[in-house]
Symmetry: C2
Subunit: 257 residues, 2 copies
Amino acid sequence: MASETPATSAIVTAALIVIGDEILSGRTKDRNIGHVAETLTTVGIQLSEVRVVPDETDRIVEAVNTLRARFDYVFTTGGIGPTHDDITADSIAEAFGATIDVDPRAVAVMEPYYKAKGMKLEGARLRMARIPSGADLITNKVSGAPGFMMDNVIVMAGIPDIMQSMLAGVLPELRKGRPMQSVTLEMDHPESSVSEILRAAQGAYPDVPMGSYPFVRDGRYCTNLVLRSADPARLHSATTALVEDLERGGLRFTRQS
Amino acid sequence: MASETPATSAIVTAALIVIGDEILSGRTKDRNIGHVAETLTTVGIQLSEVRVVPDETDRIVEAVNTLRARFDYVFTTGGIGPTHDDITADSIAEAFGATIDVDPRAVAVMEPYYKAKGMKLEGARLRMARIPSGADLITNKVSGAPGFMMDNVIVMAGIPDIMQSMLAGVLPELRKGRPMQSVTLEMDHPESSVSEILRAAQGAYPDVPMGSYPFVRDGRYCTNLVLRSADPARLHSATTALVEDLERGGLRFTRQS
């Protein structure tokens, strides 16, 4: 892979595909979406869509091909283990029209891991060394079996700690935009009390997205106002203007960040 | 709406669209996907896809129109509050080519709620009474402002307790299939130890999906094997066969359900 690419001011977008019947059945609660979202936002990659799809080749291929054409990067989680329902690698190969086979590079990184555990890398375990031709490996420091990056598609494990290790490992290789910065104003008022002030402020600063997120605390409806921009000067100006409007309206808030 | 529809043996499918920049930025961690997935599975509706999309009309319209044509029901969460970034109701109207305005039925259910709090239903709060023409209201027992059902699209709040109340309220109105039942075998072995036995069992019972879900406990890789079917007799047969194979292979497991 290329060495670390410097941040640019362009927006870099991504989608995440979570692969797994167990998420759709509710048996397993997803713990990856939030981590991927937060991590990408921090480094300057804008997560623009998430899809959760079942363990079905056609559905995976469709999601991968739709989203890789639309966004700069597509991340996937899940379905790269050793069992018959782990069909992600084969589905990625199909999406790209590539061949797939046991990859000697993957075998080479997996063998020491199994040897250290007194296990042999054979049979079903070799299934985890199947990598589409043309892909680069992504190191798995937790359990050996690698992820991979095929063109702009980044294929990671579903187990959260392995996924997190793979994501951290691949991020330096990716293009990034300017990280989005945000300011949160936490208010002890329901959304409806502040919506007209917020609408006016958003009208004056259309380039600084302002979101309003209700939450309940001690049975009371409260609101977080969040302003976001990759331009610190614009974020500061918009925040100052909104804060003045809120104070003029007698609305209490605490600034969270 | 029609009175409660009896369960049939047909499969009833659904998709969920989670609407909100705050989920994609990682600022808010979604707490609705897991609940919707588990609830629908329990009543016999098969959640077949989830999409998380930003607060952008075009993206919401595209997701709604794609998924409502493909699945029996589409549920949405988020974006029905009183602020300028709450654009779900207007987006649904646009998806259906319907008009939208303040709905007297919504005003009638919201007024007592605000009156009890000593607040007036005016200004931005009236925005929450905007309902596409032709939609049925969904009661919100928590905070008054209703959700709605437009054809096969069910529009709910994003705040988890309100969403859960709306989902519980609308479920009796929906068609259901036979609920999927499942058996979980929890194993103290990594996936790769069981993958060949599992593949053979799946081959013998292709109509009973068998999933393998790795997890880590006390630093050891363990595996849940999950068999699922809407047909209790087939589920029982497949489980019996798999259990015999596991015992023959000397693999320890505990039956979880």
